[in-house]
Symmetry: C2
Subunit: 324 residues, 2 copies
């Protein structure tokens, strides 16, 4: 029997969102809560409550399963959480804990991989066999599709697009390394530049966004000032666009993708940054530059839920295939 | 009928080598010539003469075909040469020219991809499903295996391991970009450091290798001085090992490989450089650092011939599969 629904869960450092998703990608019901701060089991309890809420009234035979996206490095084969910066979930067997309380099949994956899977199934990368997704937010992540399939590396720990060295003597990265792509393009890095400029006469528009207090300037303040036409804020994001472009030169030379999908809150708010990056790639990359199309992600805030649901549908198909 | 032999051709900027290779990887006959300087057709003529020499006495039904490795960006699907730094072959249809003169099937590929294919079939990466090969020579190249298959990107232009940005404000790269891995680890970059140090009192051992003339110091002089125990020369290569390690941190985080194979003349001559790189990866990479094994390439100078022969055997199998 062909199931009609999957539950997709998008676990973030700030909030957890859930959706009941139809096979074609329509979200028929959704809900979200702030991520509990009370340790791993509080987070798992919140996930379980949201899944129950989303699946209420759906007959078990109609539900393909549950997919959960986490901001973590995940051993996809073992379904274990190896490393997690923003939540206390490393070593916590989220899948087993959820499955012990609910009757549904559960599969977990890294949120960047799921954003790529979501865009492939329901968004900007439908029908594209070889692409790279880069998500620009508080962290920088992403995922890859090769030959029409998600590629996660030998154990599923790959796709850490933001953690490649782009400057040997660069600033520290939240992961513990230095000079990584994330240390230039994550929200904290953009906020640092915003504070530097906001402390000078050229940064008045940025400072105004933060209510006049330099110390509270955020990446969003820079983005809003740029969107309102401020030159200094635009310059900060254009410089970030150059760094993004230089990073993407490497990905184009290494992977020769047909498409680069840029998503995440920062990526979606600053299309001119992506435009600048694509110009850099056209100038500096080798022959593969002619193959690559730059697009914005299409799924926005729903990317996590839709990617997680797509994973649950895929996992259901794989199980059915094995049982046949 | 199962063929017994393939011809592998390894075209380099300095020399062209050919081998008649048995299916299990034994080279039963080989030959080489200096690469002619008289333009594209002189190079193609030399390739044809070498293939004729290698295939002489082999019955056509015993020969799977000819593989040719080139130091070029190749559109693998179209079998066309898109970009070639060291030889005047961009836009030259080498495959068609050779096939018009000889009766054998011919397939061309990038030399880095073929080095990876050779190590996978006959060398250090046998049985390894997910690995990255990096070749350190005059240029820096390489190839990738994902899920047990070579991955060349959407059109076959990928695998340009040496052309990822590792320093935003780095030195020029022969490809036209700046701050690429090759601009730190290629022979010319090591020679520049050798000249800098060779001009000081600390560089006597390096200078001696070059016969006392600073301007003629090469990467090989630095390597030889280091192999003889000179501290300054060793320092240059250890610094290169740090850069190599920082580059590999990114590859481990992105691709989560089981193995990194280091080859090429420079990589093979300086194992302590590779050792230093593996230490950096163990310190800085994310969870995938525990999965990755560092090994030296095993095929040495035969890598090009053996990889090209493996390609010819694979291509023969694919054709036979289609005809069945």
């Amino acid at each position: 029997m062909r199931t009609s629904y999957a539950v997709g869960v998008d676990v973030g450092g700030t909030r957890i969102a859930v959706g009941l998703v139809e096979r074609k990608g329509r979200i028929v019901k959704d809900a979200k809560v702030l991520t509990p701060k009370g340790g791993p089991f509080a987070v798992v309890d919140a996930i379980i409550a949201l899944i129950e809420e989303a699946a209420a009234g759906v007959h078990p035979s109609e539900l393909a399963g549950v997919g959960i996206g986490l901001p973590a490095q995940i051993d996809f084969l073992r379904q274990s959480i190896e490393f997690c910066t923003n939540l206390p979930l490393a070593g916590v067997d989220v899948r087993a804990l959820v499955m012990s309380r609910l009757k549904h099949q559960v599969t977990i994956d890294n949120d960047g991989n799921l954003a790529a899977l979501g865009e492939s199934r329901y968004g900007a990368a439908q029908g594209i066999h070889d692409f790279l997704m880069i998500t620009l937010g508080t962290g920088v992540g992403g995922g890859m599709f090769f030959d029409g399939q998600p590629y996660r590396g030998s154990r599923g720990l790959g796709g850490e697009v933001g953690h490649m060295v782009i400057q040997l003597d660069g600033p520290p990265c939240p992961c513990g390394g230095t000079g990584h792509i994330e240390s230039y393009l994550g929200r904290p890095a953009i906020a640092v530049r915003g504070k530097e400029v906001g402390a000078t006469y050229r940064g008045k528009a940025i400072l105004d966004q933060a209510g006049g207090d330099v110390d509270t300037i955020t990446a969003e303040d820079v983005i809003k000032a740029a969107q309102a036409g401020d030159e200094s804020a635009t310059e900060i994001l254009m410089s970030a666009g150059v760094v993004l472009g230089r990073a993407l030169v490497g990905f184009v030379n290494l992977l020769n993708p047909q498409m680069i999908v840029v998503g995440g809150g920062v990526g979606e708010a600053a299309p001119f940054m992506v435009e600048r990056a694509s110009e850099i790639v056209a100038e500096e990359a080798l022959a593969g530059r002619r193959d690559v199309k730059f697009v914005q992600a299409e799924l926005g805030n729903d990317a996590g839920i839709l990617g997680a649901a797509a994973l649950a549908f895929d996992d259901y198909e794989a199980r059915e295939g094995l049982h046949r």
